[in-house]
C-alpha cells in the first residue's frame, strides 16, 4: 500500500506536485464512484443503473490515470484525466435529461481541474465545456433529449453539496501547492544566494548598456577591494573609476568591444583598492539569455589573483636578476681582461666605458681623472655621441660638493642618486637630458683617489645594491689598471729620459774630445812653425803664428768655461721665484746695450708680459743668448729690429714668449741641428756652438719648450714657454 502511495520523483517540484494532484484526484474519483454505487439504491433507487454505468467507466479510467502517472507519462495522464472528467459530466448530464440536471455543475469542476493541468490553455477547456452546455440546451429545446429524471430536493442538495466540497478541495489543493512552491523557491533562493556569496570570488551583474553599469555585486567585493558594496550600485560606473591608470584604457576598450560582439569577456587587470592597494583581478563575464534567446545581462566573476601575480613577478624578477648577474660577471671578466691587457690609459678607458655601457644598457658612462693640480676632474672617456661632444668640449668638474663626481672624489665615497630630480648635488648636464638616476663611484688605487666613474640611466632607481657592488668592483679594477698603466708610462718615460741623458752624455764626451782637441792641434802645429820662423828669421810669420796660438788658447778657455756652465745647469738649480718676465727682458737688454747700440739695432718690447716662476739667473742667460744670437746674425740688414713679446698660452696654459729678428734667418733644413752641442752653421761668425744648446737645456729644465720659425733671409723667431706661478685663491 505504501509503495503504491509513494510517487516516483519526476525531476522537478512542479511536476511532482501535478503528479500528486492527479494521483489524489484519480484515487478520490474511485472512492467517490464506489460510495455513489453503494448509496444510490437507498437514496435514489431509480438512479442505481446509471450509477453502476458511471462507476464502470470511471474506476478503470482512473486506474488507467494512476498507471500513467506511475509510468511518469504525466502529460498523457493529464489529458486522459481531464477528458475523462468531461466525458463523465457530459454523459451524466445527457442521461439525466439535459441542461437542467444538477450534474451539469460538474463542468465547473472540469474547468478548474483543466486550468490546473493546462495552465496555459484554459480557453480550450472553457470552450469545450460551453459548447457541450449549448449543444445540450439545443437538444432539449428541439426535444431530442427529454428530462427523464425528476430530482428530489434532497438529491439536488446532495449533488450541489458534493460539487461544493469538490470545488473547495480543489481550491485548497491549489492554494497548498502554491504555498509549497513559494516556500520551496524561497529555500532555493536562499541556498543559491548563500552559495553565491560564499564562493571565494565576487559575482557581479552588469546591464547591457555599452558602459556596462553594475546592477549587482556580491559582498565579497568588500573583502577583496575594501570598498562598500553599495559604492558599486550607487554609482553603477564605479568599477571603471577604480581601474589602474595603466590598464584603464585597455579594459574599457575590451569591454566596449565585447558589448558589441556579445562575446565572453575575459581579462586580467589591476584596480586600485581602498588605501591605494593595487589588486590584480581576473575578470570573466558571460552574457545571460532568457528562454527566447534574448540577452538579459552580463554575469561576471572577479577573482583576486594578486598573490598569483606576485609569485609570477617574483619569478620574473628572479630570472631577470640571474640574467643581470650573469651579464655583470661577464662584464667584470671583460673589464678585468681589458684592465690587464691594455697598458695605455688612452686605450683602456674608452674600452671599459663601452664595455660597461653595452653590457648593462645604461644611458651613459663616463670616466674622469683628476688633473695634475688636483683641482679638476677631467673627463677622459665617455660613451656615445654625447660623450664624444663632451670630450671635445674638454668637460671637467671642480672637486667640490657641487657635482656628484666632485663630491664622490672629495669624499672617497660612492654617491647615488636614484632619481636625480631629487638630488640637488647633481650637475645638470644639458647633453644628457634623459638621465633619471646616476651613480658616481670613486676610482681608488692604493688608497688614493685618482678619478671617478659616472653611470647614468634613463630609469629612476636603476641601480640595485648588487649592481652598485658589481660596478664598484669594476671601478676598483679600472683604478688598479690605471695605476699600473700610469706606472708603466712613468717607467717608459724614465727609460726614455735616461736614454736621452745617455745620448747627451755620449755626445758631450764626443764633442769634448773632438772640439777640445782642435785648438790643441792648432797650438802644437803653430808652435812647430814658430821654431821654423825663428830659425829662418821671418818675424812677420812669427807674429802671425803666435797670434794663431794665442787665439786658440783663448778659444780653449771659452770652451772650457761654457762646458762647465752647461754641465752645471742640470745640477745646480736656484729655487724658482715668481718674477715679472718684463723685468728679465729689461735687464737683459740693458746688459747688451753696448752691442745693440753698436749694431744700431732698434728694440721693440711688446705688450704685457706674464709673471713667470723661474730660476732668475738661468732665464736671464736664455734671454742674453737669444738676443746676442739675433745681433750676431743680423747680416747686412739696413734697418735691424729685435722684437720681444708674448704670444698667448699653449695647451697647458703656459705663456708663449718670443724673440724675433729681421736678420739673415735660418734655412728650415737646419732647424733640427741648431740646438745640438757645438753645431755651428756659419764658421765665419764667432762662437762655440754651445749657446743654443744651453738655452734649450735651461728652458727644458723649467718644463718648457723651445722652437723656432725662420726662413733664410727672412729673419728668425725663437719661441719658448715658461712656467707661471700658481694662482692665489
Amino acid at each position: 500500500m505504501g509503495r503504491i502511495l509513494n510517487l516516483p520523483d519526476l525531476g522537478s517540484e512542479d511536476l511532482n506536485i501535478q503528479a500528486r494532484l492527479y494521483y489524489r484526484l484519480s484515487a478520490g474519483l474511485i472512492v467517490l464512484s464506489l460510495i455513489f454505487v453503494i448509496l444510490t439504491p437507498f437514496l435514489a433507487p431509480p438512479l442505481t443503473q446509471r450509477a453502476l454505468i458511471i462507476a464502470g467507466v470511471v474506476v478503470p479510467a482512473s486506474l488507467c490515470v494512476l498507471w500513467l502517472v506511475r509510468r511518469k507519462k504525466l502529460r498523457y495522464a493529464a489529458v486522459f484525466f481531464v477528458s475523462l472528467l468531461w466525458l463523465i459530466v457530459t454523459l451524466a448530464s445527457v442521461t439525466a435529461g439535459g441542461i437542467s440536471a444538477p450534474v451539469t455543475l460538474g463542468y465547473v469542476i472540469v474547468i478548474l481541474i483543466g486550468v490546473l493541468t493546462f495552465k496555459k490553455r484554459p480557453y480550450f477547456i472553457v470552450g469545450i465545456c460551453a459548447l457541450a452546455v449549448v449543444l445540450m440546451a439545443l437538444a432539449q429545446m428541439t426535444g431530442v433529449v427529454t428530462q427523464t429524471v425528476e430530482y428530489s430536493p434532497v438529491a439536488r442538495a446532495i449533488i450541489y453539496v458534493f460539487f461544493f466540497v469538490v470545488a473547495g478541495l480543489l481550491q485548497s489543493i491549489t492554494a497548498m501547492n502554491t504555498q509549497q512552491l513559494l516556500v520551496k523557491s524561497r529555500e532555493n533562493e536562499a541556498r543559491y544566494r548563500s552559495l553565491l556569496e560564499n564562493i571565494p570570488a565576487t559575482i557581479y551583474i552588469n546591464s547591457l548598456q555599452p558602459e556596462a553599469p553594475t546592477t549587482y555585486v556580491s559582498p565579497q567585493v568588500e573583502k577583496i577591494l575594501g570598498y562598500p558594496r553599495r559604492a558599486f550600485t550607487d554609482d553603477p560606473l564605479f568599477w571603471t573609476k577604480i581601474l589602474h591608470p595603466d590598464d584603464a584604457a585597455l579594459v574599457k576598450q575590451q569591454s566596449r568591444r565585447t558589448s558589441e560582439s556579445l562575446e565572453p569577456f575575459s581579462m586580467e587587470y589591476r584596480v586600485i583598492a581602498k588605501e591605494n592597494r593595487v589588486v590584480w583581478l581576473k575578470d570573466d563575464a558571460l552574457l545571460v539569455y532568457d528562454e527566447n534567446g534574448k540577452p538579459l545581462y552580463w554575469l561576471g566573476v572577479w577573482t583576486d589573483i594578486t598573490s598569483l601575480k606576485q609569485v609570477e613577478d617574483e619569478q620574473a624578477d628572479l630570472v631577470h636578476g640571474l640574467t643581470k648577474r650573469t651579464i655583470q660577471l661577464q662584464t667584470a671578466a671583460d673589464v678585468a681582461r681589458a684592465a690587464t691587457s691594455i697598458l695605455d690609459i688612452n686605450d683602456l678607458l674608452p674600452s671599459v666605458v663601452e664595455l660597461i655601457r653595452d653590457h648593462f644598457e645604461y644611458y651613459y658612462v663616463g670616466m674622469f681623472l683628476i688633473d695634475e693640480a688636483g683641482e679638476w676632474a677631467v673627463l677622459r672617456a665617455a660613451s656615445g655621441e654625447m660623450g664624444r661632444q663632451m670630450l671635445e668640449m674638454g668637460h671637467r668638474l671642480k672637486l667640490e660638493d657641487s657635482s656628484m663626481v666632485g663630491w664622490c672624489i672629495k669624499h672617497k665615497q660612492a654617491r647615488i642618486a636614484l632619481d636625480v630630480g631629487e638630488d640637488a648635488v647633481r650637475f645638470v648636464n644639458p647633453l644628457l637630458p634623459l638621465t633619471r638616476s646616476e651613480i658616481a663611484l670613486p676610482l681608488i688605487a692604493h688608497g688614493n683617489v685618482i678619478g671617478a666613474m659616472t653611470i647614468q640611466s634613463e630609469k629612476p632607481a636603476a641601480f640595485s645594491r648588487v649592481d652598485i657592488t658589481a660596478l664598484q668592483a669594476m671601478a676598483d679594477l679600472v683604478a688598479n689598471a690605471l695605476e699600473n698603466a700610469r706606472l708603466f708610462t712613468e717607467r717608459v718615460g724614465l727609460n726614455k729620459e735616461l736614454e736621452s741623458q745617455n745620448e747627451e752624455l755620449e755626445r758631450f764626451t764626443y764633442t769634448v774630445s773632438h772640439d777640445l782637441r782642435s785648438p790643441l792641434v792648432t797650438i802644437r802645429g803653430f808652435l812647430g812653425y814658430l821654431r821654423q820662423d825663428v830659425s829662418s828669421g821671418d818675424m812677420t810669420r812669427f807674429d802671425h803664428d803666435l797670434n794663431r796660438i794665442a787665439s786658440a788658447v783663448d778659444k780653449m778657455q771659452t770652451l772650457l768655461n761654457e762646458l762647465l756652465e752647461l754641465s752645471r745647469i742640470g745640477r745646480i738649480a736656484n729655487p724658482p721665484e715668481a718674477i715679472p718676465f718684463g723685468e728679465l727682458v729689461r735687464e737683459a737688454v740693458e746688459l747688451l746695450s753696448g752691442p745693440l747700440e753698436a749694431g744700431k739695432i732698434r728694440m721693440e718690447i711688446n705688450g704685457a708680459f706674464p709673471m713667470v716662476l723661474v730660476d732668475r739667473l738661468r732665464v736671464a742667460e736664455v734671454l742674453q743668448n737669444l738676443i746676442s744670437n739675433a745681433i750676431k746674425f743680423m747680416g747686412d740688414q739696413p734697418n735691424p729690429v729685435i722684437e720681444i713679446g708674448a704670444a698667448g698660452t699653449d695647451a697647458d696654459g703656459k705663456p708663449i714668449l718670443y724673440i724675433r729678428d729681421n736678420g739673415v734667418g735660418i734655412d728650415p733644413k737646419y732647424h733640427d741641428r741648431i740646438f745640438g752641442l757645438f753645431n755651428r752653421l756659419d764658421p765665419s761668425i764667432e762662437g762655440t756652438g754651445i749657446g743654443l744648446t744651453l738655452v734649450k737645456r735651461i728652458v727644458e729644465i723649467h718644463g718648457g719648450r723651445i722652437w723656432l720659425d725662420s726662413e733664410l733671409g727672412r729673419g728668425a723667431t725663437f719661441y719658448f714657454t715658461l712656467p707661471i706661478p700658481e694662482p692665489k685663491i
Binding site: Y510, H514, R517, V521, T522, F678, R680, L681, P683
Partner: protein, 149 residues
C-alpha cells in the same frame, strides 16, 4: 799623371787647421793646388757644379778629397754620402781628416765608403809626418781612376 796638375780639395771649417794642412802640403811640393772649403755645403756645390759654381763645367775634379767630419751646414758624413752616392764622383778617393777618435765616427765613415780615416795628431812633428805620408801615398803611389774631371 805625368805633367798633370794635381788638385787637392780640403774641406775644413777650422781655418787654423786648414792653414796648417795647406802649408805642410805646399812645403813638400806634393800638390799643385789645394782648394779649401769652409763648410760641407760649399764643397758639395763645387763638386756638383751648382749654386755659385753652376755652369763651371770645366772646374777640375780633385784627385783627392781631405774631409773633416764636423762641419757647419752640411756635416762631413753627409758630404761623404753625397759623393759616394754620385756615379760621377764616387771614384774620387775621400780621406777623412779629423780630430775625432770616436769609434762611432770611424765606423760611420768606413760604412759610407770613406777610402781612409786619419786622426789629426796633436804633435807638430807627427802632423808634418802624416801630411808627408798622406801626400806620397795618395798623390804619389796611388793610381787614380781618372785623367781629368
Amino acid at each position: 799623371m805625368v805633367g798633370e796638375p794635381i788638385l787637392v780639395m780640403l774641406v775644413e771649417d777650422n781655418v787654423d787647421h786648414a792653414e796648417l794642412v795647406i802649408r805642410t802640403l805646399e812645403e813638400h811640393r806634393i800638390a799643385n793646388k789645394v782648394r779649401h772649403f769652409l763648410d760641407g755645403q760649399s764643397a758639395l756645390d763645387y763638386l756638383f757644379r751648382r749654386e755659385e759654381y753652376a755652369g763651371q763645367e770645366n772646374n777640375p775634379r780633385p784627385h783627392v778629397i781631405l774631409l773633416d767630419l764636423r762641419l757647419p751646414r752640411v756635416d762631413g758624413i753627409d758630404v761623404l754620402k753625397a759623393i759616394k752616392e754620385s756615379d760621377e764622383l764616387k771614384a774620387i778617393p775621400v780621406v777623412i781628416l779629423t780630430t775625432s777618435e770616436a769609434e762611432k765616427d770611424v765606423a760611420r765613415a768606413y760604412y759610407n765608403h770613406a777610402n781612409s780615416y786619419l786622426v789629426k795628431p796633436v804633435g807638430f812633428e807627427e802632423f808634418k809626418k802624416l801630411m808627408d805620408d798622406l801626400g806620397f801615398y795618395w798623390l804619389g803611389w796611388n793610381t787614380h781612376p781618372h785623367g781629368k774631371g
